[in-house]
């Protein structure tokens, strides 16, 4: 199963009309990859191109339009690739196979159907609560800082974060953040609260400290009661 970290990216170039066992070669390759349990593969038809035969395949010339290049791409772990590469090597009778090292940043899958409602499980334990105080007008590379912080937390796989907007306040900058009838303040106080284990929160605090311009990070001990849905039974791998 593909997960975060280093992996291999494979790109295969073939012609649209190259045949294998009375089927288009690119279709055979995709079917083969799917049967081997490869995480995912995409075939794209190029607009134009040329290859080893030194013929420019272009949609402008009708006779050559059927020979347009097809590019198949997929990403897999090095072990998996080792298993399937010999067969691929054999299949691609006319084309190019390219392998490069890559880094997988995110693998996520949407659930196909809503899960049946199951009774929740109660998990209690001690954790840390972190509150970050900042201003709504604070920015980080052109986007609101609170937005950037939440995205950063998400990337660090922090369990959750909530952004609150205050209606009045003052702090490090010394000016009052206030909204009134006559002028709409665009710099109201903002607080982000995060609950996580001590260890993960420490990493998060370090990352956020470098993003904050002025502000306050407040950490306190909390007892948590998590209500979690028990995981649905694992589907058999297809």
């Amino acid at each position: 199963m593909l997960s975060k970290g280093s992996a291999k990216k494979v790109t295969i170039y073939v012609n649209e009309d190259t045949q294998r066992n009375l089927k288009a070669l690119y279709e055979s390759i995709l079917t083969f990859l799917m049967n081997k349990g490869v995480a995912g593969a995409t075939a794209t038809r190029a607009l134009a191109g040329f290859g080893g035969h030194r013929v420019l395949h272009t949609p402008n010339v009708e006779a050559l339009a059927e020979h347009l290049p097809i590019r198949i791409e997929f990403i897999e772990t090095a072990e998996k690739l080792e298993e399937i590469l010999p067969t691929l090597y054999d299949m691609v009778s006319d084309g190019v196979i390219e392998v490069q090292d890559t880094n997988v940043l995110k693998v996520s899958m949407k659930k196909r159907a809503p899960e049946p409602k199951t009774p929740h499980e109660r998990r209690a334990g001690s954790a840390k609560l972190m509150r970050i105080f900042l201003g709504e007008a604070d920015r980080w590379h052109g986007e609101p800082l609170y937005d950037a912080i939440v995205k950063q937390l998400r990337m660090m796989e922090i369990a959750g974060a909530t952004v609150y907007r205050g209606i009045l306040g003052y702090g490090a900058k010394g000016h009052t953040h206030k909204k009134s009838f006559l002028h709409v303040s665009k710099d109201l106080p903002v607080m982000i609260s995060v609950v996580e284990s001590e260890e993960k929160l420490k990493q998060a605090a370090e990352a956020i400290e470098s993003m904050l311009e002025d502000g306050l990070i407040v950490v306190s001990d909390v007892e948590i009661v998590r209500l979690v849905r028990s995981a649905p039974p694992e589907e058999a791998a297809d």
Partner: protein
């Protein structure tokens, strides 16, 4: 990374309708905090809530009576100085104090 400093977090719970000398209580509290040179204070408005009087606080058609929470973080000494003052200002409400660790991030201008 800077080390955490011990501090106190003070939370005041009351409603938007509470007033102190003609102005909203939350504004009066913020002004008082400034006067006492408290490091910072933030007012949040809740969406709905209820408290001591078991009266549901929500947004009505003609007037707003939503829950207000004021959060103040400062040293134990400063919070101790502020506590009796805000206690005198509040009519009904709740005051909660907890121990926290803080990092104050300040970049040179």
């Amino acid at each position: 990374m800077k080390p955490y400093q011990p501090a106190k977090l003070l939370r005041l719970h009351f409603t938007e309708r509470d007033r102190c000398q003609g102005k909203p209580l939350y504004e009066a509290v913020i002004d008082k905090c400034r006067e006492l040179k408290i490091a910072g204070a933030t007012v949040f408005r809740g969406l709905e809530g209820y408290g001591d009087t078991a009266e549901i606080h929500r947004s009505h058609v003609l007037h707003r009576d939503l829950p207000i929470i004021v959060q103040i973080v400062d040293s134990a000494e400063n919070i101790g100085r502020l506590l009796p003052v805000v206690e005198a200002m509040m009519d009904t409400g709740l005051i909660a104090v907890s121990d926290v660790s803080v990092i104050r991030v300040e970049k040179a201008p």
